[in-house]
Amino acid sequence: MWNQLIIYPFTNTLLLLYGWLGDSFVLSLILLTLLIRILLIPLTAKQQKSQAKMQAMQPEIKRVQEQYKGEPERMQKELKKIGYSPASMLGGCLPMLIQFPILIGMYRSILHAIPAAPLQMVDLYQATYDSWFPEFHKMIPVNRHFLWMDLSQPDRLHLPIYPDVGIPILPVLVYLTTVMQQKMMTPPAGDPKDQSAQMQRSMMTMMPLMFAFFALQFSSGLSIYFVTANIATIAQYMYLNRERIEWNNFRIPGGLEIPLPSIAAASITSNVPTKSPPAVSPSNPTEVAEKKISRRKAKRLQARKARGGSRRR
């Protein structure tokens, strides 16, 4: 059942694309990954939009949390009023969970499609659709090499000067792109002591490490899938939220800083009255957002004066 529904269709599509793309398995893998991402857009787009909304609400959430620090029940009520739901805070990893059945299918399909061992070759013969490949024997052996990589083996780059040492290039790329994706799509926690915030932090540490571990253990074809899927997700997120994107430097453990897009808070307004504005640094998105809101208010006042002080209906 699992074979017929997921693995065989993936395997045959990979091989079909391989033939069309000049016997390049990497291109075939990248294209199939992008096709899967496109098919998943209806599932992921809504999720990403709501995450972006949550991200933009952060200044409001912080303000309510500070304002009603000693009154937890009131705080919850006010947070609900501005449309905040704690369950949504954990939504950052849901698109990844959607990916898992596909991920398992992809892993098995990669092993099927580039048989590096006899048993996989027997299974490949049984998996292929005869009508799709009238001269399948000419495709065998499937070229599973790309640059330094054997796509059926875990990725290790052996430099001529240090032939004994294998550098895991793709697992590092998997880690970096997963961190970037998570950092972008997971809203910063309101209260760092909050249980959900702590969990969010541990998830953000665990998930990239877990994916990097998979990349270290499994075939590098799977790493190509990870990296492509991550980049596609980031691009989709940026496109869907292109009007609210801001670029900030993000520090990756190890001292590396990379510019990373984040969502500005400008488009979110609240009907909760502001007692006192929170102290923010000049680079804080809250300040930027409030400045933009003030400018709009000033414009509205000017327009009202021009109309003779009456409110527009």
Binding site: A117, K138, I140, H158, Q195, S202, F214, Q217
Partner: protein, 362 residues
Amino acid sequence: MTGNKIIGIVVLTGMLLTACGGALPATSWPNATLGEDTLMVSNNTAIYALSPENGMLRWQFPHEGKGDRTTNQLYSAPAENGNLALAGSDNKHAFALSVETGEELWRFDATGNKSGTAPTAVGASSKMLFFAADDTLYALQPSSGLPAWTVESDGEIWAAPATDNERVYLPSMDHHITALDMQSGAKLWQTKLDGALADTPTLADGMLYVGALAQHAYAIDSMTGLVKWRFDTDGWVWGSPTVSDNSVYFADLDGNVYALDAVNGRSYWRSQQLDSSVRGSPAIDNDIIFIVTDGGYLYALNARNGNQIWELQVDANNADRLLADPIARDGLVYVTAMNGESLMMAYHQESGQLAWQFQPDS
């Protein structure tokens, strides 16, 4: 959904991925070889030497309790040269063992300081041992394990070469079969066929009979490399053809068995399609052909007309896969199973009755 549940799902899914995918998925099936007096079976990372008469275990390698985990996945049954058996593991190491005791005599390292695994194959002639790893064939001296010569192929080598005392016939996954000089490894001729060659050619009466991962089987002149005839089949022909009394027998991955005239490739008969793929070579003894299938069945066919004499399901309780070549000798047929309750079984040729079975201690 609470955060703990989400973390739980992530961890479980990770475990599922590991279980489903497996960092080290099985890459080959158990294989057996029958020497003069010893039946040797390779399974995963171990070799078992059994008595052919009753299946009693004589020794195993690595030896129990010695903690030698240097062997990885073994792709082929050990190849015998006198009292020496050569085994190769997918971490590109070859081991020479004493057939009598299983003691390791020497080992050969073909890793070249690089990690990684690859299918390996082992073969033996009276003068030389052969070990293939990745795309390289090593001719090893039986006494020392030192390479006499090495030859690189353009494609991976999944099967041992066929040999006579003067020449080595090397099949390769790049669709080529190459003849080499036994003493020097010099190339004598090379012929390109339509499909990848994943099993050892059969050498008989100056002809090489070989199946290809294409819908063809071939007969090639061993002196010149010229294709004498080609026979079209329904499915890929993986297993080596078996030659007996001027007839060639082989099967394809669609479950068809063929009998041809060895001289001109004319068809004598073709069996009814069997339950599933036939990966291995047919075994023949006393005019009975024994065939095993991926679906777990053992068939006995009449060699003269292909009619079925008997059939049996080796292990009805398990999804057994029979992918190794069966062996037929002295009234018994030996079957090596991949997923079943027993690793090795012996059946009486006439009746299909079970004579003995062997399963190593887990």
